[in-house]
Homo-oligomer: 191 residues x 4
DNA sequence: GATGAATGAGGTTTCATTCAT
DNA sequence: TATGAATGAAACCTCATTCAT
């Protein structure tokens, strides 16, 4: 257990450092040395733990996706009506721990480079499919069949668009505010 | 004027090559040599014409933004009702010449790196503001005041989200289809 | 003595692993980690036992030279005529336990790097001198004085050349066959 | 023609520098920077011309093999009897321009690493086959059939062995002397 | 005795950029 | 106008080695 711990701790530390460093410098520009400095470690140790820069990036992405998945599952269970479950998905995406400029920035960077990496694009596809099926399940209970797909597109793309926008912001964003706006959009779409 | 011509021709050629090369290899990875090869020129000539790699990228972005602006103005003038003008903005974004996987991919890449470049982020801001004011102007005529901002967010973020999605696609996308879907979203949002 | 034993066992294991690993990967390319893995140990343990990579390499070479020396002494004692003793030296060099592709390969690698290491070149020189004196002693009894040196060169270089050739082989070599060929060469040279 | 020249000149310069540097520092240890310094160029320029370190090494080997081939063809044509042609092959191998400590050292290093490189081992095999067929052709005219192969092995391995020995020498070797010794060996073997 | 953890040193390679032609 | 030639800078990565446990 002690053995396992050190590896996990270092993993976590380096991933946190990666998020920070990528946000500050940009995905395509950030260097191992910068990330290492941010983590108070040596560049060599990153390779020791993750094998390569790409390995680190993939691990970081996976970490973020897990956070998102967890947040989604949590909120989903607590909601009772279809409309509330729809909002729960939105809440997860705009939760306090996830919806911040650095993280939105990171998502953008990852999405931008996903098409050039088998591994990253797979992760991206899986995540997208999960959100999609959640949306569809609830919307079917709320709208006539011929509007379901349009509404799903509207909501899912809205979420992506908001993140995309947040990534460009040079002032901090407010998760609570984003959640409220999202609920308004849900209501607007549901009519 | 003859002299001017050659410059313009080379500019255009190199920008086209940049779009292709960036789509194929990725913004953060593509090299001057690759772009030059794509254009059938030498890497040195790019510096001759654009001063630096960053200069080339900025010129390319500016070129795309102009295309978008032109398409928007065109469609806008031809529309007669607020709802049609709303759709016209959408049509511009999803027009045949703009809505393709390579170009959406390019937009994503640019957006991803915009926050790290004064020049690029300025371009990005200007474009976003233009679309925003168009949307607001029309929506004010169609919805009660307290729904206008929500609807604008829903529509504008939807557009971004659709591009973001298209950038990940590994099959060609259909502009006509995207336009139809966009109109459906407009109608859904207008209630 | 029990303590001594473990040291010796580990020494032997690591040297065997070195022979295998160097043959598979190449002397100049093989890493401590690869050797360690081959031995089922950690890279750190090699330093514990041999002090450094160079120490391990020297120990391995010494080990091989001892094997050769032993084989030579053995065969030498059992031979009765000058010609037989000449063949005995050859037999030692091409004995079953020594004349194999991996080991010839190893010799080549060592010889190649011997000039750059005081330690290795000393070992090489000693071994060469021993063979030389054996050859001279026997040839003096068999040939006129002015042919002795030429014959010695012919035989000794022949031996080296055969090893050199074996090191390049991609199929196993046959020691018995090599011994027979060597005897033929001896007879040819003796006239 | 002027264009082509510069490339060729740089090629030659860099290959000469490689021979010197590899001899001084060892094949597996020498660095691009050392070779570049020896040539009065930058390390980057080596990659510009040869693509990689491996490319440079292959080109260097090829250069040496060509030198050998040329020397052999030259001497071969001038000889009139089978015995003289035999000596001509020897003379080529021990010619003034080829038989030097640095070059013999280089050959050894190459042979040592040939088994680990498809390209190098191919070159090695081709060269060896050429020498072999030359030897066989002449020996058939001089010896009874059942001694031909033995004599060929004796002579060819002798040549390799002499080079191997020269590579270890820490004083310059004398090509004329080596040629004389080789002729003696030829006569000894021919009986 | 044995090994994960960690790193400094250093190597190859890539690349944007400059310059002479 | 156009480009081979050349390079400095810097990035990633590897690896032998050290050390605490």
């Amino acid at each position: 257990m002690g053995r396992k711990r050190i590896r996990d701790i270092r993993h976590e530390e380096l991933i946190e450092a990666t998020i920070t460093a990528v946000h500050q410098r940009g995905y395509g520009v950030v260097t191992m040395a910068e990330i290492a400095r941010e983590a108070g470690a040596s560049a060599a140790s990153i390779n020791y733990y993750f094998g390569s820069k790409e390995g680190l990036m993939e691990a970081t992405m996976r970490h973020l996706l897990n956070k998102l998945k967890t947040a989604m599952i949590e909120g989903y269970g607590a909601a009772n009506s279809p409309r509330d479950r729809l909002c729960a998905v939105m809440n997860a995406n705009f939760s306090d721990g996830l919806y911040s400029v650095p993280q939105c920035s990171l998502w953008m960077q990852f999405w931008g480079s996903a098409p050039y990496s088998k591994r990253l694009s797979r992760l991206h596809r899986i995540n997208r499919a999960r959100v999609r099926s959640h949306f569809l399940a609830e919307l079917r209970a709320l709208l006539p069949a011929d509007q379901v797909e349009t509404a799903r597109q509207a909501l899912q793309c809205y979420m992506d668009g908001v993140w995309l926008q947040a990534a460009q912001s040079d002032v901090p964003v407010d998760p609570a505010c984003a959640r409220r706006a999202a609920h308004d959009v849900v209501d607007l779409v549901l009519g």
